[in-house]
Amino acid sequence: MSHFLSDEQVRIRDVAREFAQVEVSPRAAEIDNKDEFPADLVRRAAELGLFGLMIPQEYGGLDAGITTTCVVLEEIGKASPSLAGMLSVQIALCPVSMNTAGTPEQKTKYLVPSASGENLMALSATEPSGMMNTAAHQTRLTPDGENYRLNGLKIFCTQGSATVYIVGGRTSVDGQEGYGAAIVEKGMPGFEVGKYENKLGWRGSNTGTLIFTDVLIPRENILGGILTGLGEVSGLGGLTGNLGHCASALGCAEGMLAKTIEYAKGRELYGQPMTALQPITYWLSEAWVKIEAARSLLYTTTRMVEEGRIDPNMIMACKVHVCETAFEVCNRLLQVWGGHGMMNDTGVHRYMRDARVDLIAEGASETMLSGIAQSILA
């Protein structure tokens, strides 16, 4: 949580906290173990109104802002970083992309059912040639009369069990190359979702390959400008989506620390409680310090975004620092658990594995560092 929350934000945080502790926590290890999409918990999150956090009220949302959104995802991340990661796409990324680039008709058609939970959304840009390597991307939107045809392949789409996909496709108008975006709905002829990947972390989140074979995209499903669509959907949405992931990573680290403290308190080594051994206590307090530093960076950034001071460098800094911190903390703390930490039944190494995914997903740390370098060296 941010250290500066209004009473209302505290109550929203408490809803997320109770959901995480009472309903998510008992299932978290199983979701990771069985790698099964927790449709029931995703539905519960929708029932509690969480899907509408970043959606304007006129489209059935709560318009609660990115700070509140991050507070919610952080709470869920403490119990299941994997679920929080999936929900981040649904809550902090796609609705903002749609709200930024969409027409009022598109927003009514897609944001309203998203707020209520009828639609699950995903955004897909990554191709086998690499997410940022856009010049090499093959997926293309070609004109077909008034409409378009989408052909190509996207990989590693988080939330491959979505019903509505925002998909990037290369475009060209009068010889000028661009990158547009299309709204693809599950069931559209020619659109298939390939097998789900078996992953190191974020298990339970269906990461799939999207295959487009001559999919007819009606004109009204083009999102944003035909040459600029992807840029528009990845703009603000990309930033808020990243912050959502940082929040779930922060929660991940906090969840691991809380569990490790409980474990250390209850365990004896060489005739003393583990907490009497100084090196152990230092690992725990160092983790605490690192988490607080990451928290401050994240919530300073969310506050800046809410005040309209959007500095991509700050968001990129969050993605690098908060996520790297989360992995470092989870990895270090796993050592406290000794042999137990290695056992699948203990159910605790999932925190480290989930945190590891954040170093790559939605922009690798190196991508962020590259972006910051370009900016500060300009």
């Binding site: 569990k259 409980e262 474990y263 308190k265 209850g266 365990r267 658990w337 137990h340 039944d345 203990t346």
Partner: protein, 309 residues
């Protein structure tokens, strides 16, 4: 009157409360609505046994008459069993008398002038002492005390005509079938928690209890939410408090609300797959492991040990 007034639903319950009063060096009188109990208690009480006679067979319906009796006789202390009807009777008469009510007292001591009660608060995480000032009603978990021996003299038996408040009627009663030895007399008890996956797995607990010649109990959610065992079988701050020699907790996380019922157990054993479960801090011996693997081995090992192998 100076002394304690004990409320008895059964002879044995009454005898256990008499022990508490005797521990405070207070002469004792008793009150009951059951004629057999009234007659029976005259052998254990030093002063008077009051028999309330009226139209109801439920003792707590007589709260008003009981309050009147207390007002009349002015005891220093009133002791009532910490049960559902006991608590109702205690609270309603306390309100009519405008006196304090200390419920669930785990300890009552005196320094000659003042009585101090100890009770658990915050779900069993903390306890606190309360010094009683003047006439106080106290409810006591009777299972923590032994029934008093017969007194040297036989008490006087006094009949009191009493009006019952019968605005609450019992339309039906259904006895829940008791399975196995009761918790109060069992020397060994096996407790099951939410870690037990299926209802049929209770047979595993039954087998272990059988090997130990003991009874099966559980945590509150297993009885109240799952309905796998009758509610009188759950151990905890709001349930049974056990005094067995041995308690084996299977798949129980160890919340304070449950462990509050284990304080007088001689040896507590915990088996749980979660090494961070709080039960291990409340146990003498613990095995971190899968109960489905451990319990069958344990049953075998106990039987082998019996046969001197």
């Amino acid at each position: 009157m100076t002394g304690a007034l004990v409320v008895a639903d059964t002879i044995e319950g009454g005898r256990r409360l008499i022990t508490v009063a005797a521990g405070l060096n207070l002469p004792v009188s008793a009150v009951t609505h059951d004629p057999t109990v009234a007659t029976g208690l005259t052998d254990y009480v030093s002063d008077v046994v009051y028999h309330l006679v009226g139209s109801s067979d439920r003792l707590h319906d007589y709260y008003s008459a009981f309050a009147g009796l207390v007002r009349d006789r002015q005891p220093d202390l009133v002791l009532i069993a910490d049960t559902v009807p006991g608590r109702e009777l205690a609270a309603m008469s306390a309100a009519q008398l405008d006196v304090a009510l200390v419920s669930g007292a785990t300890r009552l001591v005196t320094d000659g002038t003042r009585i101090t009660a100890t009770r658990l608060v915050y779900g069993g995480s903390f306890e606190r002492e309360e010094q009683l000032g003047g006439l106080t009603i106290v409810t006591v978990p009777t299972e923590l005390h032994h029934p008093a021996a017969a007194s040297a003299t036989t008490a006087e038996r006094v009949t009191v005509e009493a009006t019952a408040d019968q605005r609450v009627t019992v339309t039906k009663r259904a006895t829940v079938t008791r399975s196995g030895p009761d918790l109060a007399s069992a020397l060994a008890i096996v407790g099951v928690g939410l870690g037990l996956r299926h209802r049929d797995d209770l047979s595993l607990a039954d087998e272990l209890a059988g090997a130990l010649d003991g009874a099966v109990a559980c945590t509150r959610p297993v009885a109240e939410d799952r309905g796998w065992l009758p509610t009188e079988r759950y151990i905890g701050i709001s349930g049974a408090k056990i005094t067995s020699d041995l308690y084996v907790a299977l798949g129980i996380s160890g919340q304070t609300q449950h462990t509050a019922g284990l304080r007088d157990v001689k040896v507590v054993v915990a088996i749980n797959s979660d090494p961070a479960a709080p039960i291990f801090a409340a146990a003498d011996y613990g095995i971190v492991g899968d109960l489905y693997q451990i319990v069958p081995l344990l049953i075998q090992a106990i039987e082998d040990s019996r046969h001197g192998q």
